[in-house]
């Protein structure tokens, strides 16, 4: 088991390096071919050639791509000094460079935004897992009933309605019309009540979408598990039905749900772009949208790396949890 974890961690590092290389390659090499000069992007089209040249030197944009890549990776671990054009700036580790637009360091910017995204994803996750799994289980156990059909219709609409629709409708009703919620995001440390009030609508909106998927998945899995031989064995032992469902069937039902949950959470950390935009939350997703609009290459690179890291780590956690749940994985 320990060797397995070590091996997996090693694989994570390799994978992150590969992702970094590819992303770096795309974002820094492609402008070369399309004729857009990153240095120009940085200082603006109106700048004089001398300034552009200075920036190019300072950012090392003239170096071969592999050298640039090495400097970038090195900067992440050891920090980096930018010297050129007569000025010198130190960017402490972990250094992801500076935004082309705001000239601010990328890492602190990302770290400012990460808690917002984590709050959004975490809170919504709790809601949708509870809601979705409960709905799915009840639907499965009451298959064909009015309750089942209502829940599954709601789930279908949940899956099909886009966030900006459900989000705007809920904003219109609860925020603007009923005035029940606050509109702004506040840090948890500053004001827990305000934090909750500002996030409750995005949570519910986001959770509705995911709960719908989870309800459908749970229902289908539960129905499949209920047909398993070992469920029949459990009943033949004389177990009460709640034990058969709650212990024997649930244990198996949770396995696929956990898999999906890990991947969903990983992806959400990369930014619930639509939700953050709809509710004007200053999270990573909003940063990604802004960065793309601004062609702010370093910021795009930073968000991409954080997202990939989140997905990869989430997958690792899921795999390890899998081993905890399923002895067949653990012992082989």
């Amino acid at each position: 088991m320990f060797a397995y974890i070590v091996r997996r961690l090693f694989a994570v590092i390799v994978m992150l390096l590969v992702v970094t290389l590819v992303t770096f390659g795309i974002f820094f090499a492609i402008p070369k071919f399309t004729g857009t000069d990153p240095a120009t992007l940085y200082v603006g089209k109106q700048a004089d050639p001398a300034t552009i040249e200075g920036i190019r030197q300072k950012l090392g944009l003239g170096d071969p791509i592999l050298v640039q890549f090495w400097d970038f990776v090195h900067g992440i671990f050891a920090g980096r000094d930018y010297t050129g054009g007569g000025t010198s700036d130190h960017c402490p580790a972990p250094c992801f460079g500076y935004s082309f637009r705001t000239e601010q360091a990328i890492w602190p910017e990302l770290m400012d935004r990460l808690p917002v995204t984590l709050s959004l994803a975490g809170g919504a996750c709790v809601l949708w897992v509870l809601g979705g799994v409960a709905t799915g289980v009840v639907s499965a156990l009451k298959r064909g009933s009015l309750l089942d059909r209502t829940a599954m219709t709601a789930a279908l609409s949940g899956v099909s309605l886009p966030i900006y629709f459900t989000g705007l409708v809920s904003l219109a009703i609860f925020h603007y019309w009923l005035n029940w919620t606050d509109g702004e995001y506040v840090d948890f440390a500053d004001d827990p009540g305000g934090w909750f009030g500002g996030l409750i609508l995005p949570w519910v909106t986001l959770a509705f979408l995911y709960a719908a998927m989870y309800a459908r998945l749970t229902r289908a899995t539960m129905l499949e598990i209920l047909g398993e031989d070992y469920i029949r064995t459990a009943r033949a032992k004389g177990l009460r039905e709640p034990v058969v469902i709650g212990k024997h069937a649930m244990r198996s039902t949770m396995t696929p749900i956990l898999t999906i949950l890990g991947m969903d959470l990983g992806a959400l950390v990369g930014g619930a772009i639509l939700t953050e935009s709809t509710f004007n939350l200053p999270g990573l997703g909003a940063a990604a949208v802004k960065a793309i609009g601004d062609r702010d290459l370093p910021l795009i690179l930073g968000v991409t790396l954080i997202t990939s890291a989140a997905v990869i780590i989430a997958n690792l956690v899921v795999d390890l949890l899998y081993a905890v749940i399923d002895p067949r994985v653990r012992l082989s």
Binding site: L226, T233, G238, S252, R328, L331
Partner: protein, 380 residues
């Protein structure tokens, strides 16, 4: 559909078929009720294609300390019967269309069909236990073998985990698992097929049940392991003195274990009786077919096998008369005015001492005896 006009074939509510319609239940009414007494059991499943009559009027009885072998091919209703006795067609159906079940199941002086479901649940696993065909899929993959046995024990006994664990180890030891105190913490997939079936048997026996139902207990196993398991079941029965029902398609397995044999076809019993009688003087063309179809290891066989023509009947459109009629080589033998749509009832075979040998066939007994001794037996 010609079947609709036949009165015997209407599977109405229990009221429409009074006790008189059911076959004579193994002797007369004055005999004391047997340990297990199944009377006119009908289990029908509504489906989109029609009503599947998996079990359609089955009666038998079983005494403690005896083994009944229920033999039949797939779809004959033998497994459905066993789940019916355990009361497993009525729990956990969750929106599936309800099975239509009628008849009586007398077990240890109690009638189970009309009993409180929770009382039947408390009997499951404690007074009657079941062993399934495929022990890999019949055990939960995420719980240790020990945990599953302990659970089975603690449902019915208010003891702490430690005591239950001791009991589990003791049972694993009894069924021949080496190093039971270590293997108790293994998961089912760490056991070999034979070991898993042993563990399954340990789980079934943990509460000393008085009725043990084994549904194809060795079908998934290799022949040398099968021999071990059959041996174990026989030993355990002698030790515990329970009643055993063994359900199988393998006539060899039945011959090894069973005192009595019940042959099922199309959801009904076509022949039942003491094992020796059913094997050595069978009284139903289907039983002859089974015996003739089977290659024998104990005899040099130069003759061809004698297969039964055609395929098993659909349980939705069971032939209105004898279910075996379309496949029966003797369907055209005149039977004194009996028509094809007339269903033969189980009747005692005359001359058999004990009166336990029954067969449901329109052929006269003389005719059957003649066909068996002159046409079938010499070719086997």
């Amino acid at each position: 559909m010609t079947t609709a006009s036949v009165p015997e074939d209407t599977p109405g509510p229990p009221a429409t078929k009074s006790g008189a319609v059911g076959e004579p239940v193994g002797g007369d009414a004055t005999t004391p009720t047997a340990y297990l007494d199944v009377r006119d059991l009908r289990i029908h499943f509504p489906t989109d294609d029609g009503l599947v009559k998996s079990v359609d009027g089955l009666s038998f009885r079983l005494e403690k300390g005896r083994t009944l072998g229920i033999v039949g091919e797939s779809g004959s209703g033998k497994s459905v019967t066993s789940l019916g006795i355990m009361g497993l067609h009525t729990v956990g159906q969750y929106g599936r269309r309800k099975a239509r079940i009628s008849g009586e199941i007398w077990f240890n002086g109690k009638e189970l069909m009309s009993a409180d479901p929770d009382e039947v649940r408390r009997m499951r696993g404690r007074e009657m236990a079941m062993i399934f065909q495929d022990p890999l899929s019949a055990m939960h993959p995420y719980f240790t073998v020990g945990a599953q046995i302990i659970e089975a024990y603690r449902v019915h006994h208010a003891v702490d985990k430690k005591t239950a664990r001791k009991r589990a180890v003791e049972l694993l030891d009894r069924v021949g698992i080496p190093q039971p105190d270590r293997r108790v913490d293994d998961y089912p997939h760490q056991f070999s097929g034979g070991m898993r079936q042993r563990a399954m048997i340990a789980m079934a026996l943990v509460n000393n049940p008085e009725l043990l139902i084994a549904d194809e207990p060795t079908t998934a196993l290799d022949v040398t392991v099968q021999a071990q398991i059959l041996d174990l079941i026989r030993d355990l029965q002698q030790e515990f003195g329970s009643a055993v029902i063994i359900i199988t398609h393998d006539l060899g397995v039945v011959a090894e274990l069973a005192d009595d044999i019940l042959v099922m076809y199309g959801g009904r019993c076509v022949e039942r009786g003491p094992a020796e009688q059913v094997f050595h003087a069978p009284q139903h063309p289907y039983t002859w077919g089974l015996l003739g179809s089977m290659p024998r290891i104990d005899r040099e066989q130069t003759e061809r096998l004698i297969p039964v023509k055609g395929s098993p009947p659909s349980l939705i459109n069971v032939p209105s008369g004898c279910a075996f009629n379309p496949r029966c080589p003797y369907a055209d033998v005149p039977k004194g005015g009996v028509t094809r749509t007339h269903r033969p009832e189980l009747a005692p075979v005359a001359g058999e001492e004990g009166g336990r040998h029954h067969s449901a066939c329109h052929l006269s007994q003389e005719e059957r005896t003649r066909i068996w001794t002159e046409e079938i037996a010499p070719k086997l």
